[in-house]
Symmetry: C2
Subunit: 348 residues, 2 copies
Amino acid sequence: MSQARGYAVKSATSRFEPFSFPRREPGERDVQIEIAYCGICHSDIHQARNEWKNSTYPMVPGHEIVGRVSKVGSKVSKFKAGDIAGVGCMVDSCRRCPNCKQNLEQHCLLHASLTYNGTEQDGKTPTYGGYCSHIVVDEAFALKVSPKLPLERAAPLLCAGITTYSPLKRWKIGPGARVGVMGLGGLGHMAVKNAAAMGAEVTVLSRSKSKQADAKRLGAADFALTTEAATAKKLAGRLDLIVDTVSADHDVNGALGFLKTGGTLVLVGAPPSPLSLSAFSLIGGRKNLSGSVIGGIAETQEMLDFCADKGVLCDVEVTSIRDLERAYERTLKGDVRYRFVIDLKTLA
Amino acid sequence: MSQARGYAVKSATSRFEPFSFPRREPGERDVQIEIAYCGICHSDIHQARNEWKNSTYPMVPGHEIVGRVSKVGSKVSKFKAGDIAGVGCMVDSCRRCPNCKQNLEQHCLLHASLTYNGTEQDGKTPTYGGYCSHIVVDEAFALKVSPKLPLERAAPLLCAGITTYSPLKRWKIGPGARVGVMGLGGLGHMAVKNAAAMGAEVTVLSRSKSKQADAKRLGAADFALTTEAATAKKLAGRLDLIVDTVSADHDVNGALGFLKTGGTLVLVGAPPSPLSLSAFSLIGGRKNLSGSVIGGIAETQEMLDFCADKGVLCDVEVTSIRDLERAYERTLKGDVRYRFVIDLKTLA
C-alpha cells in the first residue's frame, strides 16, 4: 500500500480538508500515475454535496485526471514509467457484459467502477478520485495522452471532451453538417471546438449575448439568442444535430424546431426537473431527442488522439487545491472560462 | 367536373349530413377512384371537431381509402380502369424540396396537400376526403392495392398500416429484434401485426388486462401490464424499440426503462398535453425518444406490398355511412376492434 495525500469532504455539508488514504500497490496490470492536474467537473459539486442522493463519504472527487506514470505492473504493455496518462470517469467495469464487449463500458450492465463515489469490482472497496497525489488503475482504463499537449488543458478532455465528442461521432458529424450547441460552459465550449474540428458549421444557442464573442473565438460560425423571437424563424429546420449541454431547467421544444427533418437534439447535461416535451415537436419532422453520457474507453482514446491531432484543448483556469471552495462557488455561478483545473503541485 | 356524393360536417359542433361537391375531371396524370371503403381514423374525429384548431368547413374527412379505378388520364401509366387503388393521407406535395426528393413527401417542406382539410397545390382549392362516392388524384399519389386483399380490411393500411410500418423499417426491425407496442387500438394492433410479420418478438404494453388475449391472437409473444410494478423488473433493458401508439396523456419514463442501451421509443400518437420527461431516462442508456408520422408514397407502396405478401390486414368493423356519429362515439370509447370502416355502398 502507498499513502495518497488529497482533499476530501466528509459529508454533504462539510468543507474540503486534507485527507490521506491508502492506494493499492500496482498489480501486474496496474499503472500508478502521479497526478499533475485534475479538472473540476460540475458533477463533482453535485456529488460532493449529495445532490444526486447517492454519495458516500469521505469523498475525494475528480475524474479529469492527467499525470505521469511512476510505476507499472509486470504485465503492463501500454505504458512505461515516465509516460503521460489520463483517467476519466471510470476505473473499471465488468468487461464481459454485451455493452462492455461493444466498448460501451460507460453502460456496463453489471457494475461500472466510477473513479470516485463508487466501488471497485469487488463491490466494497471505495474509489477515490483525482483531487490527490496519485492513483492506481488497471492499464485497460488508463488513457494515453500525447506529451505534446499542455497537461492542464488536456485534463478536462477526460470528461468534458469525451462527453461532447461521443455524440458528435455517433451522429456522424463532419464537413457539411450543421451543429447547434446549447449552452456555452465547460461542456458547451468543448462541443463547439470538437464540432468545428470535425469540419461542421457550428451555431451556438445561448440566452446570453455576452457569450457571442467567445462563441466565434472558439470556432462557431454563428450565434443565436434563444430568447429572441427572430431566432426561431432564422434557424427553423436548419440544424442536423443540437448538443444540449444545459444542466439547468430549460425548454427544448423551441430548439427542436431548429432541426432538419430527422434531426436530433442530444442531452448531455441533466436538468434536475423533468423536461416538458410536446409530442408534436418530435412527430412533425420525425425528430429525435436523445441522451449521451461520456464514452467508452476506446472512444475516449480516439478522442484524445483526435484532440492532439487537431490541437483541440480546453480553456482553463488553474487553481490551487487550497482554493477548492472558491472554485466551486465560481463554477456554480458560471464564472470561469471554461474549466477550473487543480494544479496538484499545490498539495505540497 | 363530376359531382361527388358524400357526408360532411359544416362546423366543429354539427353532425354529419349528406353533402354534394364537385370533383375535377381527371387530368392527363389523374385517376378517378370509385371508393369502396374508407376507414375512420381517430384524426378524422380531431379534425371534424376542430380539436387541432386548424379545421376548415365543410369538411369531408377520410384518408384510408380503397376503391376501383373508373377513369384514367391519357398519360397515366400505373393504373387502368378496373384496378384496385388506394389513397392515404396525402393527395399531392411540392415534389421538388429535399424531403420530397428523398421520398419523404409527408415532410414536404413547402406544402403537402392533405387528403382533406387541406388545399391542392394551388393553395386554394379545398381537398375533400374519402367519406364519399369517388376521388380524383394524381397517379403519383395513388397506391396499388393487391386485388387479392379484402378491401374493407386493406383500407386502414393507408394510415394505420403505414404509420406503424414506417418506424419499424426505420429502426431496421427484423428477426431477433424485440419490439414493444404501447396501446392496443387502431394503430397498436397494426404495429403488433407488422412487427410480428417482420419476424420480431413483440410485447404488448397495456394498462388493461382485457387486451391480453387479443395481444396473443394478433401475434404478440408477450403481454405486460404497465400498471404492475413487476413489469419494470421483468422488462428492464429488454426491448430494442417501443412503438408508442397511445394518444392520451401517459408516462413514457417507465417505458424508456424497458429499452436496451441505445434503444428507441417512437411516438406515433400525439397526446394533447406535453410529456413529462426525465433527462436521466435518456442519458442513462443513451436512449432515444423519437416521433414518426405516416410514411412517404414509395414506402406506403412497399408496405401495401408487404402486407399483401404476409397477409397482414386490419381487424375491422364495417359500418354504414349513416351511422358515422355512432362510430365516432364508439371509437372515442375504444369500443371497436380495431377500426371502423365505412362501406360506401351505404351512400345509396
